[in-house]
Symmetry: C2
Subunit: 241 residues, 2 copies
């Protein structure tokens, strides 16, 4: 799909220009990074997804020093997380803030958001839940989402370090895009897959302790890495750099 077509199809779904821009920026970023399962292939998926409400907008329903709570109000998770990023850019926490978002799905490539926050000089950790995709390593039905953990850390010079790890051997996006075998929707780690399952489970339950349904959990704080912190990694390709 060419960029012009992608944008036109988002507008045709009923999104106004601002919302279409947010979605387009996300999918184009994924394409650029070779994460095709989170790229333009998602537009076809959105076209088939039931209940998409292009006019819905998220709302910050609670804000106290150190804690914000958002409700998606039927908006796509992409738009909710983008609104949260914009809100944090406009009013960063003095030290740290936990942000939870209820009704926040689908959220796409979580690295996208923590990179944006890191570019605004905020350290960020983000997870988000999805429908159950991963079974227990011993087998059985899917029990937990792929529940990625994304971490972005600003560096005093150069781009931030951005880590974005799904707990699945493959991502649902890659299955959707026909690039991965659905049988690989299992926790990663081979004979130690119980570790990735445990991480997915723990992150899922943190989110569920805060919100019903699918949601996101974000921690942002001030801080950055000095040149000396990254010197020891000379010769290693650091994710995001």
């Amino acid at each position: 799909m060419r960029p012009e077509e992608a944008r036109a199809r988002l507008r045709a779904l009923g999104f106004d220009e601002a919302a279409a821009d947010v979605l387009f920026a996300h999918f184009a970023d994924a394409e650029r990074r070779g994460k095709l399962g989170h790229g333009f292939s998602r537009i076809e998926w959105l076209e088939a997804l039931e209940g998409v409400r292009p006019d819905a907008r998220p709302e910050k329903v609670l804000s106290s020093p150190g804690f914000d709570r958002w409700e998606g109000r039927g908006a796509l998770g992409y738009l909710t997380l983008a609104a949260i990023c914009a809100d944090l850019e406009a009013g960063p926490p003095e030290q740290a803030r936990v942000v939870v978002a209820a009704d926040c799905f689908p959220t796409g490539m979580l690295g996208h958001y923590v990179r944006r926050l890191a570019e605004a000089r905020l350290v960020a950790l983000l997870t988000a839940t999805s429908p159950a995709r991963l079974p227990h390593p011993a087998g059985g039905p899917p029990l937990v989402g792929t529940n990625p953990l994304a971490i972005g850390v600003p560096a005093a010079d150069g781009p931030p370090v951005v880590v974005d790890v799904s707990m699945g051997k493959t991502t649902y996006g890659d299955v959707l895009a026909g690039r991965a075998d659905p049988a690989d929707l299992v926790p990663f780690g081979g004979e130690q897959a119980h570790k990735a399952f445990a991480l997915a489970l723990g992150l899922q339950l943190v989110v569920e302790s805060q919100v019903g349904g699918f949601g996101a959990f974000l921690v942002v704080l001030h801080g950055e890495l000095g040149p000396v912190d990254l010197e020891r990694f000379a010769g290693v390709r650091l994710p995001g750099r």
Copy 2:
């Protein structure tokens, strides 16, 4: 080592009764759970560790709504994390709080602390860094700690769910206890070991963005799981339950 001997050797190291009790409780909990690498074998390790200052005590040096900062002040990380837990039990956050601890090493079995916090009705996520133990999956010198991520979530009925995942194929504790091959101090995950390495790296850099040296990073928030949240896991052994 028998419990009486363990306690006596801790006192002989110079710890007063309260501090020895904290350390003993940690090691005894590890023994009970079969995590022998974090159990009484650590007492011998402490006896050989240079620079242990049994009289040192951690201090909370900054506290604002949503954020606390502690300094170990030369105390063992076990004592610092126990002091942080006691402080949170005495004054839990209204919604959420991020706690960072500088000069916080060694910390032991992180599940121990998030279980304690979960028993005080707090959701908790905790990581802590250590000397570099894990190399990049492609080889080379150790670059990052095993940097476990521990997550505890209270349940409305029954014990909390407690997840505690080291990013190493084995733990340093098990190597110390002679129960694991030092060659297994690599990121877990086999052909997807880059994922565990990325998680260890991200968590390490979050800590380093906040503190120099080894430290801990903790997020606590209110919340719990209702019975319905756990129903779908019937038949699966949930960690900690």
